[in-house]
Symmetry: C2
Subunit: 352 residues, 2 copies
Amino acid sequence: MSKPVLIVGGGPAGLAASHALASVGQPSILVEKEDCLGGAPILSGYAKLVPSGEWAKDAIGGMVDRVMQSEHVEVITEAKVTSFDGEPGHFKAGLSNGTSVDVRSAILCTGFTHFDSHNKPEWGFGTYPDVVTTAQVEQMISSGNGVRCPSDGRKPERVAILLCVGSRDRQIGREWCSKICCTVSANIAMEIREEIPDCHVYIYYMDIRTFGLYETKYYWRSQEEFKVKYIKARIAEVTSDGKRLIVKGEDTLVKRPITIPFDMVVHAIGMDPNVDNPDIASVFGVDLETNGYLDHASSYSGTGLTKRPGVFVAGSAIGPETIDDSIAQGKAAAMAALEQRHLHLLAAELVG
Amino acid sequence: MSKPVLIVGGGPAGLAASHALASVGQPSILVEKEDCLGGAPILSGYAKLVPSGEWAKDAIGGMVDRVMQSEHVEVITEAKVTSFDGEPGHFKAGLSNGTSVDVRSAILCTGFTHFDSHNKPEWGFGTYPDVVTTAQVEQMISSGNGVRCPSDGRKPERVAILLCVGSRDRQIGREWCSKICCTVSANIAMEIREEIPDCHVYIYYMDIRTFGLYETKYYWRSQEEFKVKYIKARIAEVTSDGKRLIVKGEDTLVKRPITIPFDMVVHAIGMDPNVDNPDIASVFGVDLETNGYLDHASSYSGTGLTKRPGVFVAGSAIGPETIDDSIAQGKAAAMAALEQRHLHLLAAELVG
């Protein structure tokens, strides 16, 4: 039997990579630090995903089931890789549970960490209970209980979604764009309008980045079919008048100060580099790029390559990424790992 | 020997797919309608690519060489697929050169068509020789002759790049965003500033969509290191005063009309669906989505699947796409084709 490929991280990219390898008979060992697979969409309780519209628990849950049931995938949860030594084709990975595994290569699908809105205190998170994050709204929707103000459980009549919380913000050391928050926010806005038709939903933005075909499906549909309002603005602070939240800032198109009351304010939180990235880079002998994501070869001829031969990367470990591109990258990295196996088999034939 | 996979289109996605299959010993037949491989980056003479910074002729040219030299890839140029009959594992593809090939599956990597700026006549293309497209500027840069005004060969002192030409424009039936033009334009602006340091370069935009890590590498770098100016504007028309081009419109941030002279105006042209898509959809029995791109399964569990089993899609055939994501999708589709082969081998074993 062929020596397994080590896959680190059980989110969309890792699930796609292990399934792809399994489906051509290549065994893999999938190591996940949490106690279950699925990554952010499952662990954070996402609702309907962009762009497929599938519920996370069905779509990503289905990918989890497929991997759990595969005879070619060994799943190890609640473990981290603590050492990784050897050469392509012959690595030994030490795990935090005290065991070790022999593998031919590794694919790092270690994902991202949600921005912690406490790090943007002037926008009210942690101070006012009705200031929540997109992840929390996803959980409200996926729970089936609907979107309600945490303070008293009432249906909000006015919701503001603030984009770029923890993204495009030099003041807090996060210059990157998190790529998918605009589209996710448009999706959430439509979900809220669908559940609570009387609720007014506003999205405050710097630039709307519903790229590609998302433009029609999210940006225009949310405005025309769901009457979501988009306001280009610079938000200064979120306060309270004792009854409602107050969003203060400047409408940058009409150049006027705004002071607008809302029942709920939603932070569209960005994708930070995984907080474990320094450790991961150290263990696997790969680099971090300037923002703290895992570095990869910037070359079209080598997708998912790192500076260490036999170690590949995919998904939001290397930068803010959508779920579908994470899945494509996971499969591409699986393909790269197969290529490497094939080269070794050819070499073995030549030697033999 | 295993029956080959048919790959239609020799751009980045098709090159990635055929190389990936070749590197695990799976033969493929790559059919390209033009007389050489490489797709848009080669056929349109792109310069340095986003985001790797490699020259197109090196990066994509290298991918072409790799495929041309592979013993596992049969390349057929100047041919289209005119019929495609059979079942997964056993298809027969008729070609426009009168031959036919037996294949097990097909991956459609048929790409896009550049927007024709003649369809936006009020912006001066076709009327004034110094109104050019991003593709033409790429050619000027890659030729080594530098960016010059076509009318008289002079170095431009003032260049305007107009974003969203053939994108986000309902009036001309193109509502989608072409995803990569913002970043490509920032890249071109920096190239111009590097070659002609005295030249002033302005980018007129609706929203800047330098998503993910492009934000730092392109948007901020172009402003801070290269002094490119970004102006949010609604452009009405491009005319001439007899000496210079005049860009007229409204600065949407200060709400004032603008009438500004330039030596050169660059249309950042969008990505139309491939003009051949209706034929391709008909031949392969797949659907077109509402904008005219090839439709694919909107499901996370099946990347690159179409409604017809055994026919896969990747890259800008399915919507505006970056080169690196096209490559990842090409490899993911290759993986899907391998999965399908594996299932057939397993089935054959069971029957046997």
